[in-house]
């Protein structure tokens, strides 16, 4: 016999609703996990300050953290612990798709909601699990946006040959899979298909290969440290295609801007959100973030932030922490106002329980007042006012 | 000069020495004879500090050195030419010799001692830059002796120096030992080559089953019935 956790207000006189959050808090993805942790806590604090879940007597949200250590077994064990020991109402996480896939399966077995705010691997929601929801933009969505962008740019200067450079974990490979499917359909030639280990100490060989392939466009997927190595490498080896286009993640990380911003001048990056994006509430949130943490939030942080608001919205409507009620509430989500519009116009879920149409944008690393910034340049509706697309690529 | 009291040593559970006692006076050549495995090396190693004692004590020049670690005993003037020579195989002859004088006192006189040794053993000077492991057995033995002398010891202990040497070399070796002794260094000699040893020593101890069974001067022992039977094959 297993105990179904009952509604939050019933348990132990405490009025708190426990939300489990599993993240890579140690191990080599720890910097990313730490950022998510900040964003989640930030959103939770905001919601609690505004009075918690009103339909549940103002119940406060309380996050219970689990460290996946970037290890699937630990992620799974933490899931089990959060559910049975901590009796959390639902779980969010686990940043990395590789951890999310097995951990959410564990949650599914125990009939707990797994709410994925960041994991982008299509597998997360394509397995037909009943209790897994996602608001993250998936790899296929990002690829679509990138190709749309390419098609538009082609009008300015012809683009034919493309080099794919991506890190070799499930994330990079997932994206590459769609590139390889979609690019040829759209009339592009893949002239180089280069995967690398993101932990490699040195990426000069990759850079050299790209240089030899001499593509019109370089498409990339990378984490922070490898993105930094690539940016420096391309600049040093004077690789000059018509465009560098990255796929968020590492390049969207504030640390990348800090460590390699100069080198990545005029690179493009697809992302879910930018500090300067033309959406209501966005500037204000950005300001609060900078005040609190000293850095702009990353797209991933915004997704975590929006994720918590989506969860709160569902709790509000479900008036319960019962998994099935929550699931119904989540399925019925249709949020078009409030903080989540910072991320996307409407939060709703399709039949696979994933957000079908996140508002993706393309930002470009540009120099503004002598400082490198990510400037949203595409699509025009979201673009920063007065921003211009620099294309084809110009080195400094 | 050296006083060993009631020494016992164990290896794991096996007792190698049980209550051995002996004395060495300044300027003497004293030998320890005994069969294979009698505990001769163990005795020497206990004196030089290489072996932990189970019980007993070692005094050197009136000072109890039982607790002094091996590398510090060198500084007190105890040197050893170990069984099997134990040269530093990948180093040159000269480096091996220099390593003999790492203690501050010896280091001061390093060049001087080195010259003396080269004079005593001219062969070493010739081979100064040869790698030790490529030397012949006899040459290696000379390096081992030279190296021990480099620390300017007061007491020099030899553990089976004749092992693996041709009869001719053995004869020369024994002359060398006597020569070193004349230079004022007290000698303790462990040998299986009982007959020749007993001919050059002042006094000798017989070690059997981990303790001293007989003590006496060289010629006395040569004529001792037990010694004759056990070690001289008569």
């Amino acid at each position: 016999g297993k105990q179904e956790s009952t509604a939050g207000q019933g348990s132990g006189g405490s009025n708190d609703i426990k939300i489990g959050a599993i993240l890579p808090l140690t191990g080599d993805a720890a910097p990313l996990g730490d950022q998510s942790r900040k964003a989640i806590q930030f959103a939770v604090d905001e919601i609690n300050a505004k009075g918690g879940i009103k339909s549940m007597n103002g119940a406060k949200l309380q996050v219970v953290w689990g460290d996946s250590q970037g290890n699937q077994q630990v992620a799974q064990s933490e899931t089990s612990r959060l559910i049975t020991q901590e009796k959390v109402a639902l779980i969010t996480g686990a940043y990395q798709s590789g951890m999310t896939i097995p951990a959410s399966q564990e949650a599914e077995k125990q009939k707990k909601i797994w709410f994925a705010s960041v994991p982008s691997d299509d597998l997360v929601t394509s397995r037909g699990l009943k209790y897994v929801f996602r608001i993250a933009d998936t790899s296929s969505m990002r690829v679509k946006t990138q190709i749309q962008f390419l098609n538009d740019m082609k009008k300015k200067s012809d683009i034919k040959s493309i080099a794919l450079v991506y890190e070799n974990s499930s994330w990079g490979q997932g994206v590459a899979k769609y590139w390889k499917e979609e690019l040829p359909k759209n009339g592009y030639d893949i002239v180089l298909n280069e995967a690398y280990d993101r932990k490699a100490a040195d990426l000069t060989p990759v850079v050299s290969k790209v240089k030899n392939a001499n593509p019109d466009v370089i498409l990339m997927v990378s984490y922070v440290q490898d993105a930094t190595l690539l940016a420096k490498g391309f600049k040093q080896q004077q690789v000059k295609p018509k465009a560098f286009i990255s796929t968020s993640g590492g390049t969207a990380d504030p640390q990348f801007l800090k460590n390699a911003g100069e080198d990545a001048l005029n690179w493009f990056d697809v992302s879910a959100w930018e500090p300067d994006v033309n959406r209501p509430g966005s500037k204000e949130l950005d300001k609060k973030f900078v005040e609190k943490f000293g850095t702009h939030p990353s797209g991933e942080q915004i997704k975590e932030y929006a994720g918590i608001y989506t969860i709160a919205d569902a709790l509000e409507r479900a008036k319960s922490t019962d998994s099935d009620k929550l699931r119904d509430a989540l399925k019925a989500s249709n949020i078009t106002s409030g903080p989540t519009v910072i991320y996307t116009k409407t939060i709703h879920f399709d039949s696979t329980q994933t957000l079908p149409d996140p508002s993706l944008v393309i930002a470009q690393f540009q120099k503004v007042n002598g400082k490198i910034e990510r400037v949203t340049v595409y699509p025009a509706s979201d673009a920063r006012q007065g921003a211009n697309i620099v294309f084809p690529y110009q080195a400094q | 000069m050296l006083k060993v009291n009631n020494l016992s040593v164990h290896y794991g559970g096996m007792q190698a020495l049980s209550g051995a006692s002996l004395q060495v006076f300044e300027g003497e050549i004293v030998s320890i004879v005994g069969s294979n495995g009698a505990g001769k090396s163990t005795l020497i190693n206990s004196i030089s500090g290489m072996r932990k004692l189970t019980s007993g004590s070692v005094e050197f020049q009136g000072q109890d050195i039982t607790a002094v670690p091996a590398h510090e005993r060198v500084g007190l003037g105890i040197a050893q030419v170990p069984e099997g020579r134990r040269l530093f195989p990948l180093m040159t002859v000269k480096e091996n010799l220099l390593l003999g004088s790492t203690i501050p006192e010896a280091k001061k006189h390093r060049q001087e001692t080195l010259d003396e040794i080269y004079e005593l053993l001219p062969r070493l000077k010739e081979r100064e830059n040869q790698i030790a492991k490529t030397l012949s057995g006899g040459e290696q033995q000379m390096v081992a002796i030279g190296r021990a002398l480099m620390s300017r010891p007061k007491l020099l202990m030899f553990d089976e120096p004749s092992l693996g040497l041709s009869p001719l070399l053995v004869k020369q070796l024994f002359q060398l030992i006597q020569q070193i002794n004349k230079g004022g260094i007290t000698i303790m000699l462990v040998e299986q080559n009982v007959r020749q040893t007993l001919q050059i020593v002042d006094r000798s101890y017989v070690l059997e089953n981990g303790s001293i069974s007989i003590e006496g001067n060289g010629t006395d022992l040569l004529n001792n019935e037990h010694v004759k039977k056990a070690f001289l094959g008569m």
Binding site: L25, G66, Q73, E78, R81, Q85, L123 | H10, G13
Partner: protein, 337 residues
Amino acid sequence: MKRFMPLLIAALVFLVLPVFVQDDYILLACINIFLFAYLATAWNIVGGFAGQLSFGHSAFMAIGGYISSLLFIHLGLTPWIGMIIGGIVSAIVAVLIGVPTFKLKGAYYAIATIAFSGGLLTILNTVQHIGKIELGASEGIVVPYKSDATFLDFQFVEKLPYYYIIYVFLAIILFVSWYIDRSKLGFYLTALREDEDAAKALGINTSRVKLYAAAISAFFTGIGGTYFGQLTMYILPDTIAGAGMSVQMVFLSIVGGIGTVFGPFVGSLFLTTIGEITRVSLGDSIPGLHLVIYGTIVALIILFCPKGILEPLQNLLSKRKERKVIDGRVVANQRSK
């Protein structure tokens, strides 16, 4: 039989534990302890008994896990059989690697095994498919979740079946290990570990005996890979073939008592529990702190009992001194039979 009392008690306690503890997390924690005890015990057959320090055993887990899962996905073959096939392939691979590598000694062998498993990991992380068979490269393979799974599918909603399966696996490997230890093979392994030359003189074909040990060890490790795959339902190269997995097996064995039958089990019981406790109690405070404490505990164990905790533990249990000093002569205490 007195020596086996603690073991029997432990076996009984764990057998009935789920009756009292119905918490899935605790069961999962126990499953992890058992799984690692199982893996470490399997490792110990070659790493401990034969004294060949392998740092690449995760390779065999990967082989076992991949093979059974692929057979399940593509041919619908039950993992129970796939597991045996995976184990056999692991054993064959172990022999193939063993032939050249057992010539290597000490640290050379250790690093060679690191290189072998590191290379395999790279391949698994890179190869998308072999022919039509999807390997998924670093995305790994998802063991398809069947809502109508039966026992034959080796997947369960509840943790309880997993618990008893690994309980039985562990019992089997402990028995095998115990049996080997007292059989001819065990005598031969001990002999060659203590002195290879002397072993040869007694008619021991040392290279063949080492290969036997390697094959047995790899066979069971491969089966462990299948179990792991079925438990997590997801085979991710970095986890199943990663260095962390291999190192863990070595760690647990050394901490428990390398080369002993029950050392690896005790090691896992102790260390996996500590790992779990430190993570749970400190995991959400300062990131990394729990591992600092875990590492410190391991370091302390080594400092105070370099031979592992099994021996002092046994002494504690039997309250007997290993040796008695009689008449100044140390004589080994005779074991009471």
